[in-house]
Symmetry: C2
Subunit: 233 residues, 2 copies
Amino acid sequence: MSSRKGFTVWLTGLSGAGKTTLAVLLATQLRARGVRIEVLDGDEVRANLSKGLGFSKEDRDINIRRIGYVCRLLSRNGVGTLSAAISPYSAIRDEVRLAVEQEGAKFIEVFVKCPITVLAKRDVKGLYQKALSGELKGFTGVSDPYEEPLAPDVVVETDRESLDFSIRKILQALEQRGLIPNADLSRPRRVRSVLSQSWKRHAQRSSTVRAAGRGRSLTLLKRLFLKRQIRKR
Amino acid sequence: MSSRKGFTVWLTGLSGAGKTTLAVLLATQLRARGVRIEVLDGDEVRANLSKGLGFSKEDRDINIRRIGYVCRLLSRNGVGTLSAAISPYSAIRDEVRLAVEQEGAKFIEVFVKCPITVLAKRDVKGLYQKALSGELKGFTGVSDPYEEPLAPDVVVETDRESLDFSIRKILQALEQRGLIPNADLSRPRRVRSVLSQSWKRHAQRSSTVRAAGRGRSLTLLKRLFLKRQIRKR
């Protein structure tokens, strides 16, 4: 039984800002350090826990509360949980923080920051175009609110920083709080090679990514990059 | 990091058969052996994950799938998870078993068996009276189906066995599969004192129960017994 406390890393930010990419690579890094990790990706959780819910404020709040409930269960059992849902409303984020911390686990809010102009240009899923043209209603940041965190534990700026730097910032926050063991430099080179890429290169040279770790991280990565390839065609 | 695999103990049976009582006492026993345990009580999960869902077959299935999803997440992270939902349909129970086992975790189906005549007489929550009078529609075992497990891993007969014996059966199944360490007889007496009570005495002498373990087990126990006290008035 590990005596180490669980924790929740709560990645919040606009669609396409890089939450899932960060979560998946963080998970690979953390598992390589022997930490038990679960990624709660917004889309995956919607499919498993919130099918039928829409994108009204009420439904979004219910969805985030459900993710928060699962984070709480996992965290209090020593699992590091990475949430990658937009979670636009600060009150609900604070509610989840309280619930996790009441269990004696840490809650690390990470603001995945990227200007909407950059996101609309990247438009990984083609959603910004639809939202800006009015085809897609209630889209966070365009036609639905996003409340930026006022006092996040970590801010990563994915339009300015390398992916490596963003990951290191979050790892450092976890190390400083004693939540994870310090980096072991003897870890496989192929893991580090992923981290030497910038966010831009990361998106372009997707085929070079060979993330170590569990099968499902790799599958998720592949899915992510596949989407990008399809878009390019 | 514990090298021990997680597992899911899936208690299935009619309302009032003793699923939650068993789960709460099992949790206390298992935590005393140093095993990380979560209890997913049917009512609690409905409040946190399935608010708004009803009791149609479709809604019941969604509810059980959600519990199964959480069991899977916890089990694959080394947590022992005890589900105490009625889960009337065998196909969905089998689906959850498959999902848990695909993660390399064990799934132990426990049939919490008790004749409906005994349950209607006990009627802990006063629901059988309402169901039998027709006031409550779609009540499992009365006006809604319950599919008994054909090949459960453990059967406990709560109208015939002592609570002690029922608990021991489940613990033995877990021990035999190498999922939990063997009993440590040096554990606090007050834990063992709970187990020396029969199911009947357990319901009557509620005030004598002093379960060791985490606060929330105790709170859950208190809530259970409080309900009974209110009913008696």
